[in-house]
Assembly symmetry: C2
Homo-oligomer: 213 residues x 2
Amino acid sequence: MTQQARAVETRAAIIIAAADVFGALGYGGASMADICVAAGLTKGALYFHFESKEALALAVIDVQHERATALGGELLHSEQPGLQVLLRMAFELARQLRTDPVSRAGIRLTMESSNLSTPVVRPYEEWIDACDVLLRRAILDGDVRADVDVPAAARFISPAFTGVQIVSDVLTGREDLMQRVVEMWSFVLPSLVAPERWEQLRSLPQEIADAWT
Amino acid sequence: MTQQARAVETRAAIIIAAADVFGALGYGGASMADICVAAGLTKGALYFHFESKEALALAVIDVQHERATALGGELLHSEQPGLQVLLRMAFELARQLRTDPVSRAGIRLTMESSNLSTPVVRPYEEWIDACDVLLRRAILDGDVRADVDVPAAARFISPAFTGVQIVSDVLTGREDLMQRVVEMWSFVLPSLVAPERWEQLRSLPQEIADAWT
């Protein structure tokens, strides 16, 4: 293995170790010393790759955001109807948060990022933008009513998901997250869906959730 | 002033100073030393009242939760219709978060409480319970449809508000929070309100928001 390949591999391993530590202790509770132990590295080796705890936290946030936008991008560019994609995106994100420790740590660090010198704003804006794009597509598909205030809907749906996953985390460690996302959509869809598509689309949240179980 | 009255006053002043520090730096970033400086006290005097940073954080959370439930309780026991009270509660909470530094710090600490030895769960449960009670009252009032799944609606509305206020904080420092809460209700009401009350209630969110401006 070349030196460069080894460096890339070490960097990735550090990020996974850091995600475990940040995920368990939060940004404030975690120290570079903890992360050294988790990664099995000396302080010197760790600082060679990341100059500070903040740099490491931002790297974990970046990896989580990459994973999330990778699935978002894939769905966004699929041929499926916009509303279907919007719902699948929420369920995919929920699944990622339930199963991937790096995603969990990234979300936690994003939430705590007001502790960093630069609060992390981009993920929130990008999810709102993605909702906006998909709602417009869903209007063209005829699934969403043409008179829906799309920017307002996007600015509600994305934060509502944020809150649902946070409270599910606090109350059940995200055990009940899929069911809570089904319920979220059951309360949001009536204000979005075109009346003539209602019978066809009303059970879409449950159908998408069932596809995973 | 008696010694006991002085102690109560000092304790209240410490909580306000601690709220400022926690609100600005978060739980992880704040130190007892910072709080000493903000409160104008020696370390000895501070530790006489609070044995640890965690005890102080929990005290701030308690004060915020007391203020929030005080307004919640007042609204809950008012003679107003349930749906009106439910909406007013959301707007009152939003106003409190915009204007009261102790409330802001308390919410931030609640969010960060996974860093504490006991995560703070009670406020989430109590808000969900309050939504539940008010939705049942709104069904009796005839404003909300009798076939609404009340526990599911309560488990969605309270977390949705949580997410809306968090994202408003991240993106605008809660500048736009009142407008975001109006929009939240505009997307949730259609799945709750009884069809024969729709014309009467559709502009309720905007009316309540306007009452503050």
